[in-house]
Amino acid sequence: MNTVTCTECEAEITLTDNVEVGEIIVCPECGVDLEVTGLNPAVVQLAPMEQEDWGE
């Protein structure tokens, strides 16, 4: 079972089995959006903010 540490509040979070790289999870302690950037070992980082469309 994969566990990660929230980059904001340092809570330990257990990832579900079907989690994918690129997926956004929400920290159950502080509610921040975390992006799963690796799985073996599991790594998360603060997810980038949503942005409006930039292109033509």
Binding site: A47, E50, Q51, W54, E56
Partner: protein, 270 residues
């Protein structure tokens, strides 16, 4: 330059390129200094369809829709926008005796943009991050290059492609590119030609056309604007904040679209 007019030509929304080019030729004879910025998303979509790579749009969790420009889509975008729209517009102007000069933001680093680092999307109920997107937001326009071309007697025709700090080509919004170009050139006027008579109080009721809009009311207009018109209002705001005297959103489907806009047609924002 106080005498300069930057004109944004919509893609294929019924906007009449040949009428715009003929009008530009006439205005140049009258001593005006012009710069064109054009779009091309419709051409890019059509080429993508023909090549079996239809455009992909992504809706974010809070409802923003973005065109997803992966590397292959970027190359199709470059072919359509730089190779077709820009080259044919330059050719059309040349055939009218106007010494047009087509370029994009890659050329001499004309338009430097921040690359969007991520898009949020929802796939099978999961929120995900997409990182291989090639769109950008312009941060700097190299005015000196355009002034050099203008001094050489050319009419610059600019495609909506920018360069990132790393040298990557990026798809950028043409309305906002036109605004940034107008600011960099300290242009007097930015004309955004589109397939509508201007901003309307109650879209699409053309009898509710707004003739003049003070800059102070722009945020209210942004709330009201529909779809693509939102980007034009954003562009207008950026241009005015950057020191452009006036922005005109006007109809690109009429006889002499630029002259008509300068003479009072459309929505004047200042």
């Amino acid at each position: 330059m106080a005498n300069t007019i930057v004109i944004k030509l919509g893609g294929t929304e019924g906007v009449d390129f040949s009428a715009i080019c003929a009008d530009a030729a006439e205005l140049l004879r009258q001593g005006r200094q012009l710069v064109f910025v054009h779009g091309g998303s419709a051409e890019a979509n059509a080429l993508g369809q023909a090549l079996g790579k239809p455009p992909k749009f992504i809706t974010s969790p809070s409802g923003y829709t973005s065109r997803y420009t992966d590397r292959q889509t970027l190359e199709i975008f470059l072919m359509a926008v730089n190779g077709k729209v820009n080259s044919l517009l330059t050719e059309q102007l040349q055939s009218l005796g106007v010494n047009a000069f087509g370029l994009c933001g890659l050329d001499g680093r004309l338009m430097l943009a921040a690359r969007k680092d991520a898009i949020q999307s929802i796939e099978n109920g999961k929120r995900k991050i997409i990182r291989d997107d090639f769109t950008g937001k312009i941060e700097h326009v190299e005015a000196g290059l355009l002034e050099m071309l203008l001094a050489a007697g050319c009419l610059p025709v600019i495609a909506p492609v920018a360069v990132s700090a790393k040298g990557e080509a990026l798809n950028v919004d043409a309305d906002r590119a036109a605004a940034m170009v107008a600011v960099a050139l300290k242009a007097e006027t930015l004309v955004l030609l589109t397939a509508a008579p201007g901003l309307m109080e109650k879209f699409p009721d053309e009898s509710t056309l707004i003739h003049t809009l003070p800059q102070a009311r722009l945020s209210a207009a942004l709330e009201m604007a529909q779809g693509r018109m939102k980007k034009k209002v954003l562009g207008a705001e950026e241009a005015l904040q950057g020191g452009v005297e006036k922005v005109i959103i006007a109809d690109g489907r009429t006889e002499k679209p630029i002259s008509a806009a300068l003479a009072g047609a459309g929505t004047l924002i200042q």
